[in-house]
């Protein structure tokens, strides 16, 4: 019964979204107030209905209602509660429902917090947002209905893929979707602005917080996914350049570009049409990501069970929205004339360079991801594009970006002298060179990656500090804490990027590993740490069997930790997983994995010492935190109020 209510609510939400697409849009073009404002209750109703539907599905998972096909296929009574809940979105149908729920959430947020938006723009934004929603409701209802019943409910379910039964991955999809779908707001604003035919500073000020929020969520989502891969896949890789990872990385790069180009629109009324294009492309790449994950055109470790019909449907949605928006763009872009003027060496110039680097690097990821598909279609060649390609083709752009970032974020607007802009960075430069020398001295004979990665990272962090210092001027600490939050957010995010650079560089260059057969009681040395295999026991978990080892880690005779790496088998899916055990630290992780029993009674044991591993995720958290600090800047709230006063004087077109 509850499932039927959910099903019915979903169909109602679909109907409401169609209303919300058509009526406000017509109202906006005819200037009918009532039609325009009806978008607000519609957006709220749509969100409530979709929420009800999602809640119904959650109830079905929590109560293990195996008469629902979806629950039967993805759940099990013995599964811990948290994974029963995360199982709702651990499958194709449920994750699509989460996707539209978030889409409706953003629409409702624009309806509730959008009081300061010009009414016409708000009606159009909500209409475009609802159109995207309508397309995805249709997709769910016609190709991926989560509420299908089974005639003869089975006694128990088939369980969730054990790899997904993990806290890191339980919250990875919601964050990722908040990011992907958040970019739909930027898209809706862009399309609404194209229909209106005007883009101004106020528009950019409206788009930026949404994009910032979406980018922040994407950052957290990607970091969670990468962290999960690090500890779950059993050998401590953190980024694989897998098509599905790339699918989330491209929107992240474009969202980062969009954030920066919107600043130029906001402050200087230039780069307008480029910003609109970026907003369209950023969401377009979110849709491409969805297409890649769900259509099966590109196989990947974590793509959902694929289905050509679904693939075609998403491709049609993608073509309709991105194609439609781009056509509109082609027709209207020429009206977006730039106003601000600036010299090549200026903040504007630096932000243009930032956009070139980010957009081209996203393009490189795109072409590398799609190349196997392309080669197969064109020449019937089956080939692969993987990590070694991306490491070579993508990294140079990131190096260039890191080199210019601290300078670019300091140069004044409009016109600047290059050498003068460098002056506040003298101390940062000295710090960077010192760091590079130190790293070089510590790592003689090893790869240059350590020196480059640590150098660039130090340059970014020191550059961010130097910028805060420079903005403070000579008035000391009290001024430092009274700097606008946007300045702090910017510095924290840029420093976070630096921290990630350091982590990636030093981990890649300095990690050491040891693979051996150990008998119980054996001790061995790995890079100064003494590892002792104390015991190996069979343990029973709630829905798995585990082979759990106890390994003592000590250094210079002092015990640091006892780690319990596991090897699990989930009997329902007959699937083995490895659970690495990690002693995390600020400067290094000790990462141990227990392998198979050997014929001579020993165990295969793997030990990795991973220096600075945590810095990769620490940097990601800092980046997201920087976004959050910026988002709390009072300018967004004050500006919204100021805008409202201005509206009265803007004549209706």
């Amino acid at each position: 019964m509850i499932a039927e209510i959910g099903h019915f609510a979903l169909i109602l939400a679909f109907a409401v979204s169609i209303y919300q697409t058509v009526v406000p849009m017509v109202g906006a073009s005819r200037d009918w107030q009532g039609w325009m404002t009806s978008a607000n209750p519609a957006a709220l109703a749509q969100f409530l209905l979709c929420g009800l539907s999602f809640a119904a599905l959650t109830v079905a998972f929590v109560t293990s209602d195996f008469s629902l096909k979806l629950v039967y296929e993805n759940s099990h009574t013995a599964k811990p509660m948290i994974y029963k809940i995360s199982g709702v979105w651990g499958n194709h149908e449920g994750s699509m429902l989460l996707w539209v729920l978030i889409l409706a959430l953003f629409g409702a947020a624009a309806a509730v917090f959008g009081d300061n938006l010009p009414p016409r723009l708000r009606a159009r934004v909500l209409s475009v947002q609802a159109a995207i929603g309508a397309a995805f409701y249709a997709f769910i209802i016609f190709t991926s209905n989560p509420f299908l019943r089974l005639g003869n409910p089975p006694f128990d379910g088939r369980d969730l893929n054990p790899l997904l039964q993990d806290p890191g991955l339980a919250f990875h999809p919601p964050f990722l979707y908040l990011g992907y779908v958040g970019l739909s707001m930027a898209f809706s604003f862009a399309v609404a602005a194209l229909i209106e035919g005007r883009v101004d500073a106020a528009w950019a000020r409206w788009v930026r917080p949404w994009t910032l929020a979406a980018w922040m969520f994407l950052t957290v989502g990607i970091a969670l996914g990468s962290w999960w891969a690090y500890y779950e896949l059993g050998w401590g890789g953190f980024w694989f350049w897998d098509p599905v990872e790339n699918a989330s990385f491209m929107p992240w790069l474009l969202a980062a570009a969009l954030l920066h180009s919107a600043i130029v629109v906001e402050k200087r009324e230039a780069l307008k049409s480029w910003t609109i294009l970026l907003a369209i492309m950023a969401f377009g790449f979110s849709l491409i990501g969805t297409f890649i994950v769900r259509s099966g055109v590109i196989t990947s470790v974590h793509s959902f069970a694929s289905d050509p019909e679904r693939g075609l449907f998403i491709l049609a949605i993608l073509l309709a929205f991105v194609g439609g928006a781009l056509t509109l763009y082609a027709a209207r872009a020429s009206e977006m004339t730039a106003k601000g003027v600036f010299a090549p060496v200026s903040r504007e110039g630096a932000l243009v360079l930032n956009n070139v680097l980010l957009a081209v690097s996203a393009f490189v990821v795109f072409i590398g991801t799609m190349w196997p598909l392309f080669a197969e279609m064109m020449w019937d060649r089956k080939l692969s594009v993987g990590a070694p390609f991306f490491n070579k083709a993508f990294t140079p752009f990131m190096i260039a970006l890191a080199l210019v970032l601290p300078i670019g974020s300091l140069v004044p607007w409009k016109r600047a002298k290059f050498l003068r802009a460098l002056r506040p960075l003298r101390a940062a430069l000295i710090f960077t060179v010192a760091t590079m020398l130190l790293v070089f001295a510590v790592s003689t004979g090893r790869s240059a990656i350590a020196v480059i990665g640590a150098g660039l990272g130090a340059w970014l962090v020191a550059g961010a500090v130097a910028e805060l210092w420079h903005r403070t001027g000579s008035s000391g600490l009290s001024r430092l804490f009274r700097l606008p939050r946007a300045d702090w957010g910017k510095a924290v995010a840029h420093a976070g990027l630096g921290v990630t650079f350091i982590g990636v560089g030093l981990l890649t260059a300095w990690q050491s590993e040891d693979i051996r057969v150990a008998h119980i009681g054996d001790s061995f040395e790995v890079s100064g740490y003494t590892i002792t295999l104390q015991s190996v026991d069979e343990v029973r978990g709630p829905n798995y069997y585990s082979t759990m080892a106890a390994m003592k880690i000590s250094r210079d005779g002092r015990e640091i930790a006892v780690l319990n790496p596991e090897k699990r088998v989930y009997p329902v899916q007959a699937m083995p997983t490895t659970e690495a055990a990690i002693d995390g630290g600020f400067l290094r992780d000790v990462y141990v994995v227990i392998g198979d029993a050997q014929p001579d009674g020993g165990w295969a044991v793997r030990t990795y010492i991973k220096p600075f591993a945590n810095w990769i995720w620490l940097g990601s958290i800092l980046m997201a935190l920087g976004g959050l600090i910026s988002l709390s800047d009072r300018r967004y709230r004050v500006a919204a109020g100021a805008r409202q006063k201005k509206i009265a004087t803007v004549p209706a077109q």
């Binding site: 694989f240 070139v356 060649r381 594009v385 990590a387 490895t578 994995v593």
Partner: protein
């Protein structure tokens, strides 16, 4: 029934499936082993989805890892080893497509796009900075009015 078969098939694989590089595979010579690892990371496991043979658990990956080490011990250089594997399994196993033929497009796409983007950006910036000069000129009346405003201060 299907599930039963799947379970059975998995159980068959389970005993041989093992975690990536096994202790018995590791070569005694650390330089050779390091080379083997470098090569393994560039070769894709032919039956898995996007894993290289160094991290893959499939038995064919183990065979490939052993084969790579065999060739290295026999004195092949890295190129020869990779060529030998590609001869058997086709270019599908190469994670880094060779920069020749049609694949040149893949390798050049990034740099060419970067150059194009920089050219377009440069033209845009030039246009923006020229606009400075155009708007810099005020008419006489405007200049007089501006002076007046400035004096008021």
């Amino acid at each position: 029934m299907r599930q039963l078969i799947a379970t059975f098939a998995l159980l068959l694989i389970l005993p041989i499936s093992a975690l990536a590089v096994q202790p018995d595979e590791v070569l005694d010579d650390p330089t050779l082993e390091a080379r083997a690892r470098t090569i393994s990371q560039k070769l894709r496991c032919p039956v898995c989805q996007g894993e290289n043979i160094d991290e893959s658990n499939a038995s064919i990956s183990r065979d490939l890892r052993l084969y790579v080490r065999e060739r290295l011990v026999a004195g092949d250089d890295n190129e020869q080893v990779v060529d030998a594997v590609v001869d058997r399994f086709g270019e599908f196993v190469l994670f880094e497509p060779r920069a020749r033929g049609g694949n040149l497009v893949l390798w050049l796409a990034g740099p060419v796009m970067a150059i194009l983007a920089l050219l377009v950006a440069w033209r845009f910036i030039r246009a923006r900075s020229r606009a400075t000069q155009n708007t810099a000129h005020l008419s006489k009346d405007e200049q007089a009015r501006l002076d007046e405003i400035m004096r008021e201060d």
